[in-house]
Symmetry: C2
């Protein structure tokens, strides 16, 4: 069963798992990278029940070692995982998207029954929309720019408050192909999650500099930050 | 070159084109249906320059006959077509999405340079968000429901006004798999476009009753209604 991870490059993931992997007997590990994450595939040289048990045992060890990165198995998606966590907790979600342009909302609403926890989203492409729709302070945009940790924090807190949701998630970045500068290159993204308890923000420099994979990687990173906050700090 | 159409079933499109198609000499017409529309492929029994000319002539006749359905050729997408129209006119767009859940916004922002005309979007999944974020009247929702022509109109006009855009587009419908009733079955969608001149709304009963194809068909229908309004009534 492939283990799905996100938030780390293939080489760094392999390095992190190396001590564990080299200690595994009769289990081979392969890494399958995509823009949205790396799948880990396990194979046993033993067959039948014995092989299955060895694979299962190795999979559990890997998941424990990289529980910040591993969000599920097989074809599970992050929007499913997040949906399940919110449903269990009976909590609600609102999204503020700049560079991901609605893709995160679209993924969340792909899940049947998502209307139970998904209250809505604001795609705020312009600075004005960030101010009027999300309550971002004009001074914040002036001092730090729309692509900044401060803006992401205010977007997440703003959308949470505007929709009256338990959780607010924000993305702001430079998807390209143009719009990059030496200080703020194409690929730079700030993500933020506002919860009932605190607001966290994260800077990411996503590799794909083409627009669509950058949007995909941004949405994935935002959903994973939300997953980690719900699991560890809610 | 395939001619891309949307908004009609394969059989109805074939029936509408039949008189023209049967008059075409040495050009064969094939229909390739998908959830988001039907592509028309043309082939000539003649080869080389002669064949190319016959195909081009037939393609132009077909496009003229179904200009309400045919939005482009080859791999062009509706978001590209709409983006080009808005860029030419230097006009701006805002979206209010219920059942399409952000997919329309995500498609519009897939286009490089879309930040020049795309101001933003509101994904209003809950009734409360429709009221507070888009200015839909509570009485409208009470009298007609959230899935209604009246609600779609107010959503389109509301988002246009909220973002200060030239164009507002709205979607509201029942994507399923649950939530349908005999009067309002799964698949039912209302679309609306508010322009500087008027607001139009359209009811559609989209075939796919699975969630993802229904979202895809809804976004496509909304973008085509916008295209037609810009081209014919702006």
């Amino acid at each position: 069963p492939p283990i799905r991870t996100t938030g780390i490059f293939e080489s760094a993931l392999a390095a992190r798992l190396e001590p564990l992997v080299s200690s595994l007997k009769d289990v081979q590990v392969a890494y399958l990278p995509a823009y949205t994450g790396v799948d880990i595939r396990l194979r046993s040289t033993s067959t039948g029940d014995k092989g299955r048990k060895m694979i299962e045992s190795a999979a559990c060890k890997i998941e424990t070692l990289v529980d910040d990165l591993a969000y599920g198995r097989n074809d599970v998606t992050l929007e499913e995982v997040v949906g399940r966590l919110l449903t269990e907790r009976q909590e609600t979600l609102a999204l503020a998207e700049s560079c991901s342009g609605g893709l995160t909302a679209s993924r969340v609403t792909d899940i049947p029954g998502s209307s139970a926890y998904m209250l809505g989203a604001v795609v705020a492409y312009s600075n004005e929309a960030k101010i009027t729709q999300l309550g971002v302070k004009p001074e914040t945009l002036k001092a730090h720019g729309a692509v900044s940790e401060a803006a992401a924090r205010e977007m997440a807190e703003g959308v949470k408050s505007v929709f009256g949701a338990h959780w607010g998630v924000a993305t702001t970045g430079i998807s390209g192909p143009t719009g990059g500068t030496p200080e703020k290159p194409v690929g730079l993204v700030y993500l933020a999650v506002a919860s009932p308890r605190r607001t966290v923000a994260k800077e990411a420099r996503l590799v794909p500099h083409r627009r669509l994979p950058h949007k995909a990687a941004t949405a994935q990173a935002a959903l994973n930050l939300l997953r980690l906050e719900i699991m560890h700090h809610a």
